[in-house]
Amino acid sequence: MAESQAVHAVHAHQFEDLDQQHDVGTLGMWAFLATEIMFFGGLFAGYTVYRYLYLPSFEAGSRLLDIRLGAINTAVLLGSSLTMALAVRAAQTNKRKALATFLVLTMILGGVFLGIKFVEYAHKWEHHLVPGLHWAPDAEEVAQIQGLKPGAAAPQVELFLCFYFFMTGMHALHMIIGFGIMTVMLVLSLRGRFSSEYYSPIEVTGLYWHFVDIIWIFLFPLLYLVGGRY
């Protein structure tokens, strides 16, 4: 937020002081997150409607997903939220080395998450279960789908998987954007730009990352758990 006219290197001209600037940063991010809720909201609405209309198929579709990988991924992402929270804390308490370490840890955990996600996607591809692009389940697979829940039908399972891919894909896209932001933060923190005086960008990055985590907290039950495993 450096504007050349400003006296202090990090103090932008339109603000009275740093405190105001910090407030503005967090409020801006929260407002943006409200927007993000509605962005995913459109997907949740579509999901809700079709789940209501085609419950058996959605349950069958859900059973095609790997609940173990889903649970592990949830844990991984929660871990990255923890390290992110600790990164913000490190900034608050002026521990510059810890800040960089925690940022790196967060990125690593995020990477693990995406890696696992990739494995899942690849698995779906192998089984011809990618709607639109690679959807050609053979007779056996169709029978398997239909066996999962009475009343399930392949076209609606495809619809479920379509939501699965679009929702998790959007989520992954947000994580990738988060990666980009965090790389910038890492560079800036290595250059010593942050301190307990000025850590607003780190905090705002944290908010974003936690939000992405929360989306997953809901995607996990909605996509992996609805079908049950009993």
Binding site: Y54, P56, K149, P150, G151, A153, A154, P155, Q156
Partner: protein
């Protein structure tokens, strides 16, 4: 006739007059408020026009009673309008028990209409005066909308499901109908005429035009031709359920739901059998999507409906 506005479309159905009365009332409200506001503004603007450049008018904060007045009066008015409009709508939406049915299929860019007695028309609709008629509509492709201005009725014809409207024509004559939902290049060409005829003329017209078979007969023919009878025969070796007396009952599905066996249900079983499997039968009925078009499906349904409530279907 008292209600005849200078630029009013024909009033040719039992519904039209009620709608026009509401329309007139709303017009009156609009004129009333517009007039009040214009008059007041005009009066103030002249009376309190600026006379010198450094005039300072008195301070007026506002007035709670006034605020309440112009909040509550419009609110009350809207309540009146809402109740009036909604009850009228519900009355208009419900077809009388004795309606006879005509089937409408919209497709880019024409209307196909079939009478149960057999006659089929394109972009023309012949109906008798004084008889409630229900239109059951669907679409082969995109969303269309069947609109008869003189009857004040309109409803979307959607792909994948049935919608319906009804009317009772009150005046013999010829009226426009339009497609009122944008549907592509020839949207504005998807128009036609309703011919409202005296019952005698209508009977004559029916007789002259039903050289073909009735919808029910066409349905029976299709039933055998497409191969439904292979599974749905009355023989004990049939793999599918008997369809006698099915229409109007409720059906228990394999996933536990219970649904009414109405037009939409029958249509669903033919096109998307996987969406609703009847409990207790193997899931072998294939989809007939692409083998029968919407009109033929309507004929099949007409046939299924005609399989009266015989002594029920014998189940093992």
């Amino acid at each position: 006739m008292l209600l005849k506005l200078p630029f009013q479309p024909d009033q040719a159905s039992t519904i039209a007059e009620g709608v026009d009365r509401l329309y007139l009332f709303l017009t009156f409200i609009t004129l009333f408020f517009t007039a009040i506001i214009f008059a007041t503004i005009f009066y103030f603007a002249v009376k309190y026009r600026r006379r010198s450049d450094d005039e300072r008018p008195p301070e007026i904060e506002g007035s709670l009673p006034l605020e309440l007045a112009w909040t509550l009066i419009p609110t009350l008015l809207t309540v009146v309008i809402f109740v009036w409009a909604s009850s009228l709508y519900f009355r208009n939406a419900r077809p009388p028990r004795a309606s006879s049915e005509i089937f409408v299929v919209g497709k880019q860019w024409m209307w196909h209409l079939q009478h149960p007695e057999g006659p089929r028309e394109i972009n023309e609709l012949h109906v008798p005066v004084g008889v409630p008629i229900q239109l059951t509509m669907t679409s082969e492709d995109v969303i269309h909308d069947f609109f008869i201005p003189a009857f004040r009725i309109k409803k979307d014809a959607l792909p994948g499901r049935y919608s319906s409207i009804w009317f009772e024509a009150t005046k013999i004559g010829t009226y426009h109908f339009f497609c009122a939902q944008y549907c592509g290049a020839e949207h504005s060409g998807m128009i036609g005429w309703v011919y409202v005829m005296s019952p005698a003329d209508y009977a004559q017209w029916l007789a002259n035009n039903s050289s073909g078979e009735t919808m029910e007969a066409a349905g029976r023919r299709l039933f055998n031709q497409v191969g439904c009878n292979g599974c749905h025969s009355e023989s004990s070796s049939a793999t599918g359920p008997s369809l006698k007396g099915l229409y109007g009952q409720s059906v228990r599905l394999a996933d536990g739901r219970t649904v009414p066996a109405n037009d939409d249900y029958l249509r669903g079983t033919i096109l998307t059998p996987f969406k609703q499997r009847v409990a207790g039968y193997p899931a072998i009925m294939p989809t007939f999507q692409g083998q029968v078009n919407e009109e033929q499906i309507l004929q099949l349904i007409a046939y299924l409906k005609s399989l009266g409530p015989e002594e029920g279907k014998v189940k093992q």
